[in-house]
């Protein structure tokens, strides 16, 4: 397929679009799917068929609509009505109401700030297109960035554009993407690899899953552009096996793109070839660490190795390898389409663009959100999230999963960007955001994350393998009222030691949840130890 043909295909899709008068878009991403949206979709389809409205109304499964807490969600077009908590029995009423007054009791107010405060780049197609149809993606300017790159940009031009955009790695650490690409591009040799890290494993985080389930082609396009820029011809998508739906949709997407000549040999009729294969993770959190991920793809035990040498220089099978996260790749096509300067105009001075967060915990509107960098925590939690339910009071928000920390109330007006979050002892991380109210015990929270690190430590280096277990045991003693202040001192010593001596990021950041809760909620630790009481009433004290 040439860029010319791609344009034609997009136009023909555009023309074909207005055919049905009504379009019902129902979310079939994992959140709504688990609430039975596939059954609702079938019920709607049956209802449409029963009434003989096949030419009038199209029922379409789409990706995530965001407000997962109210799922199954659906959108009726062109009326622009959104329905929430839809069940199979609502199908008749919904089809009946098409073009008329909406079904009042199901309407989800789309003017609420959950929707209006968001800024969608990565999720621009989520909930809009059918993730299993490449034509839908192409109709929304899909693959035009790739075609343009191949048509009139040199690899260096692409890297310059990405550098200009100021995009930083969305996997958590925030390494400048342009710099990473140029490092791999400069690495010697003719064989290079591009890897997409989709081994999302933070508890409560589902951004990558949603992107892959809602808009898989966007990630493939980003990978292909990256491959062109760094000079790779083979790519791997490392997806955790716990995401079967994402894997299925990716497989479909790869097949479709190959059929249209947008992946594979001689892409868009040029000399550039790029093949993508999927590799499934076997359920190890540590395989999200790049060197462990590479070992896993090589068929070895998923354990990190010391860096340097970095994968950019010595990666998969010893060849230079570019590893980026799903969300990073998802940002590439819009940057090429709209220019790096456009992207750099969004966000703060050092953190550009938007960030997808999985908002969870004690907040009214849980779900998937995309916000511009620099938005305050207060806006996310109280405007978009709708505040704390049941009259409870905000206590802290946990960002960055087991590598992050708990941010207390006094920092609610802090802008969300890489530097600010790091300054208060947390991290941006991959985008998990868990809100807690006064019924959450902070020691218990720290214990939960430490338990996670204990079971996810690979066991290679001593501080992480044994240190996390010892820290967990101390936290366990604290929460059961058996600890002394000496234990607390030992816990702090272990935190310091594990943080600075562990081999990889997992161990180095494992103490963060403890350190940040100790920094802001030390009195709770002391209450457990000295008064043998859990202020939040969560922990069972052994008397």
């Amino acid at each position: 397929m040439t860029p010319e043909e791609l344009r034609k295909l997009a136009e023909s899709q555009e023309e074909a679009r207005p055919a049905p008068r009504h379009r019902i878009k129902i979310c079939v991403a994992a959140g709504c799917l688990s609430a039975g949206s596939d059954r609702v979709r079938d019920a709607l389809q049956n209802e449409v068929t029963r009434r003989g409205l096949e030419n009038e109304c199209e029922v379409q499964g789409v990706g995530c609509l965001g407000l997962c807490t109210m799922g199954p969600l659906m959108l009726v077009e062109p009326d622009g009505v959104m329905y929430q908590n839809v069940t199979e029995s609502d199908a008749a009423a919904i089809v009946e109401s098409l073009g008329k007054k909406p079904v009042e009791q199901l309407v989800c107010p789309s003017d609420m700030s959950f929707f209006t405060k968001q800024y969608k780049i990565v999720l621009e197609n989520s909930g809009v297109i059918d993730p299993e149809k490449i034509e839908d993606y192409i109709a929304r300017d899909g693959y035009t960035a790739l075609a343009r790159v191949l048509e009139d940009m040199s690899p260096q031009d692409v890297i310059d554009e990405i550098t200009r955009s100021g995009l930083r790695g969305r996997g958590g650490a925030g390494y400048p993407t342009g710099l990473k690409w140029s490092t791999v591009a400069k690495a010697g040799g003719t064989r290079k690899f591009v890897i997409c890290n989709a081994d999302e494993g933070d508890p409560g985080a589902f951004m990558d899953r949603s992107v892959l389930e809602s808009d898989p082609h966007r990630v493939l396009e980003g990978m292909a552009i990256a491959a062109y820029a760094v000079g790779a011809s083979q790519g791997y998508l490392y997806v955790r096996a716990e995401y079967p739906l994402a894997v299925k949709r990716l497989r479909t997407a790869i097949r479709q793109a190959e059929r249209l000549g947008l992946l594979g040999n001689n892409i868009c009729g040029t000399t550039f070839s790029f093949h993508v294969d999927i590799r499934l993770g076997a359920g190890a959190f540590v395989c999200g660490e790049e060197t462990a991920l590479i070992a896993s793809i090589e068929g070895k035990r998923g354990q990190p190795r010391p860096r340097p040498p970095y994968p950019a220089e010595y990666g998969l099978w010893g060849y230079p390898t570019l590893i980026n996260n799903v969300e990073t790749f998802a940002n590439i096509a819009p940057i090429i389409r709209n220019g790096g300067d456009w992207f750099a105009s969004i966000g703060t001075e050092k953190s550009k663009g938007t960030k997808v967060f999985a908002l969870a915990g004690r907040v009214k509107n849980t779900g998937l959100i995309e916000v511009p960098m620099g938005i305050t925590l207060r806006e996310i939690i109280f405007d978009i999230g709708g505040g704390i339910p049941d009259g409870h009071r905000f206590k802290a928000v946990q960002t960055g999963g087991p590598s992050g920390g708990c941010i207390p109330e006094q920092y609610l007006d802090m802008p969300v960007d890489y530097e600010s979050l790091a300054k208060v002892g947390s991290i941006m991380g991959s985008g998990g955001m868990i809100v807690m109210d006064e019924t959450s015990c902070m020691v218990d929270v720290a214990k939960f994350f430490m338990d996670f690190c204990v079971s996810e430590s690979c066991g290679k280096c001593v501080p992480c393998r044994v240190g996390t277990v010892q820290m967990y045991n101390i936290l366990n003693r604290i929460t059961s009222g058996e600890a002394t202040m000496e234990d607390l001192a030992l816990l702090e010593e272990l935190c310091d030691m594990v943080k600075y001596t562990s081999l990889c990021g997992l161990g180095q950041t494992a103490p963060n949840p403890v350190l940040s809760t100790l920094q802001y909620f030390r009195d709770e630790y002391v209450a457990h130890i000295v008064d043998k009481q859990c202020p939040a009433g969560v922990c069972q004290m052994r008397q």
């Binding site: 001593v462 501080p463 044994v466 562990s502």
Partner: protein, 239 residues
């Protein structure tokens, strides 16, 4: 082929030293008689940087780096003996002692155990974290050797020597985190292993009493490792 070898000059503990660009800080330190403690490292085997005893401070680098895998660089200023490093090293040892059941008085290598001597050298006077006392098996099914998991520190020297030097790859690690364990073949009894050549290299490289030979008095259980540098040297010459 004959590329010029680049030599880097650096400072280790304020001493001027030099090394080839492909040499590590640990190698240069040892050549110059500067002591950096190690446990998982063994000359002749691929270094893996797992035990974290050889961590050193490098001026201008915020992280601590393992000397066994960090290459020398021009103008590097390395510090190997700061108080902070010594504290961390002792804690690594304390964690290792607490992890399994290390009871020197009844151990087959009492007196020539690397873990034991390292504790003495680094001045570890007590273990501040509680012992875990896990229940772990002993596999004595092999006709000549025994693996006692209670004394294993997971340095994986046995795994590496079996794979890299003997070429049998009988040993590997299974499980993860605190549940990691060295295994023979696919977690079969050692005596039933089809790949084991009974060469005994694993026993000789084991730093503790986790791997030992049957029917010998404790005093004769010295580990013989002279073969390792010799074998690797001969191999490199043939390449």
């Amino acid at each position: 082929m004959n590329q010029p070898v680049r030599v880097k000059t650096l400072k280790i503990d304020d001493r001027d030293v030099s090394g080839r660009e492909d040499e590590t800080i640990l190698e240069i330190a040892r050549q110059n008689g500067i002591f950096i403690p190690t446990l998982c490292n063994l000359q002749g085997l691929t270094p893996i940087g797992a035990c974290r005893l050889c961590l050193v401070e490098i001026k201008g680098v915020s992280r601590l780096l393992p000397a066994c895998v960090t290459r020398v660089e021009e103008g590097m200023e390395v510090y190997t003996q700061s108080e902070r490093l010594q504290k961390y090293r002792r804690m690594v040892l304390e964690l290792l002692f607490s992890e399994r059941n290390h009871i020197c008085s009844v151990c087959v290598v009492n007196g020539h155990c690397e873990l034991q001597s390292m504790a003495q050298v680094l001045g570890m006077t007590h273990v501040s974290v509680p012992y875990r006392f896990p229940r772990l098996p002993v596999d004595a099914s092999h006709e000549r050797f025994v693996v006692d998991h209670n004394r294993c520190i997971l340095c994986t020297r046995c795994v590496r020597v079996c794979d890299e030097i003997e070429g049998a790859h009988t040993w590997d690690v299974m499980g993860r985190g605190i549940d990691s364990r060295v295994i023979t073949d696919l977690n079969q009894a050692w005596g039933e292993s089809e790949t084991c050549t009974s060469c005994g290299k694993c026993v000789n490289v084991c730093p503790t009493g986790a791997l030992f030979e049957k029917g010998k008095p404790v005093s004769e259980r010295l580990k013989k490792r002279q073969f390792l540098p010799y074998l690797t040297m001969m191999r490199e010459e043939r390449r």
